[in-house]
Symmetry: C2
Subunit: 237 residues, 2 copies
DNA sequence: CGACAGGTTGAGTGAGCTCAAGTCGGGTGG
DNA sequence: CCACCCGACTTGAGCTCACTCAACCTGTCG
């Protein structure tokens, strides 16, 4: 087990901050459960997913070492499952109280983090083509867990597909094609090296000029995070 | 509900809570601006949108009378624009401070609301077909601004399309088909009556059995979360 | 070894995109 | 008042990208 040998100066919260272990695939909490606790990942990977009546699921995020998840108001809006074996710290209902200025942060910053995560998910889904989504996903994942340019994906193709609202076939095909084009290299299904980050960024931003002759006004495709000084197009009137 | 600890009890709220008017199409704040204020809608409609480098946009939400928007940590992650003429109350940077227990609520509940909004957006985008998205959008909008079963959409088809990640053509076609099927009635582009809410709900939940002979295993909709055994029956229409 | 889960790849199909008219209504000017 | 324009919307025709169906490969585990 993990020993928290004095790294935290002094813990005064008598709320049980227990350490839990989950095996691959285990459910941490289910959609609809009362949202009593939130969790911080000590090691491993966790996914949160929305389940629909028709059986399909939408993964709303992957969480890695250090991340916090399970921030919900009343009941959990999504379920959480271990993608790979995970060690978690469960923090009992402290999040609703706006103190805990130490450690991971207070209620507002936790919620901000959750909001940020949700908006990242929207960005992924808003991108339209499979190439854009996969490229954006790879970049986001690499930024989070990538050592230099290689990363080991802890999740399956099905997880990626349900995260990007694609099928596993399309995810697999798209990765294969990126590898064929030399943008990435696949060393087994889980191990990916990003050979051409710039190209991948172009793809993620919707620039597909290389694939088709389709010209877009990507002249200013420079990596400005936002800017988009908005040419003429703005909503009329 | 939420306990405020004494240490942050007081903080003067002399910040200007000003009332502002915006004309149709006017920008309230831009993506990337420092997020100093949040807003409450007194009247009118507002949309928030993410802008991508390639020019396309993802509307992350529509906000109506009483709603609050502009909750962001550091800088605005999306821009906000008036869909129709809007009167807003601007609330200066109070949101970062966990007080303001009066009026619309404190920081945590505002953030919860924003999070809830974001997750609704994810649900819309995660659903797959155009029919599902449009049906879900209509239901959500009717729940929010619908008097009984008729509603007047303040936004254009382009707004709806950018919200659902579809084209205006597909939105228009889908609405026309729903009208043709008698699920809704169109009285001009903006005025919609929901004639068959149950049917619309079925469509929104991914049940399209009525449209095609396509059988889904919806009989056991409560089955395993994944499974996908799919007994290859009746799939070749 | 066989069974099975995860992954890849090919062939064919169709939902939604693109391109292209055409309609409708409101505003403006002659 | 009508002619004209323009923006919003609708609708048709064709195409394409991602889904479906299907086969096969690979590695792991009992």
């Amino acid at each position: 087990m993990i020993k928290l040998s004095g790294q935290i100066a002094y813990r005064r919260t008598t709320v049980a901050n227990t350490t839990l272990k989950f095996r691959k695939g285990e459910i941490i909490y289910a959609q609809g459960d009362p949202a009593t606790d939130w969790y911080q990942i000590i090691s491993g990977t966790v996914r949160t997913c929305l389940l629909y009546p028709d059986g399909h699921r939408q993964l709303t995020g992957f969480y890695y070492s250090g991340d916090v998840f399970g921030i919900d108001a009343d009941t959990y809006r999504s379920s959480a499952e271990a993608v790979a074996a995970a060690v978690l710290r469960r923090c009992g209902r402290g999040f609703a109280a706006p103190d805990t200025p130490d450690e991971v942060g207070n209620a507002s910053s936790l919620l901000q983090g959750a909001l940020s995560h949700a908006q990242a998910c929207i960005s992924l889904l808003g991108r339209r083509t499979a190439h854009e989504r996969v490229a954006a996903f790879l970049l986001a994942t690499a930024r989070r867990i990538g050592g230099s340019n290689s990363l080991r994906l802890p999740m399956t193709r099905a997880d990626i597909a349900d995260h990007l609202a694609l099928t596993i076939h399309t995810v697999s095909r798209t990765l294969s094609e990126l590898a064929r084009r030399g943008v990435i290299a696949l060393d087994g299904p889980q191990s990916i090296a990003i050979l051409n980050p710039a190209q991948l960024r172009l793809l993620a931003d919707g620039d597909e000029d290389d694939r088709l002759g389709r010209q877009r006004t990507t002249a200013a495709a420079l990596g400005g995070p936002v800017a988009t000084s908005v040419p003429a197009v703005l909503c009329g009137s």
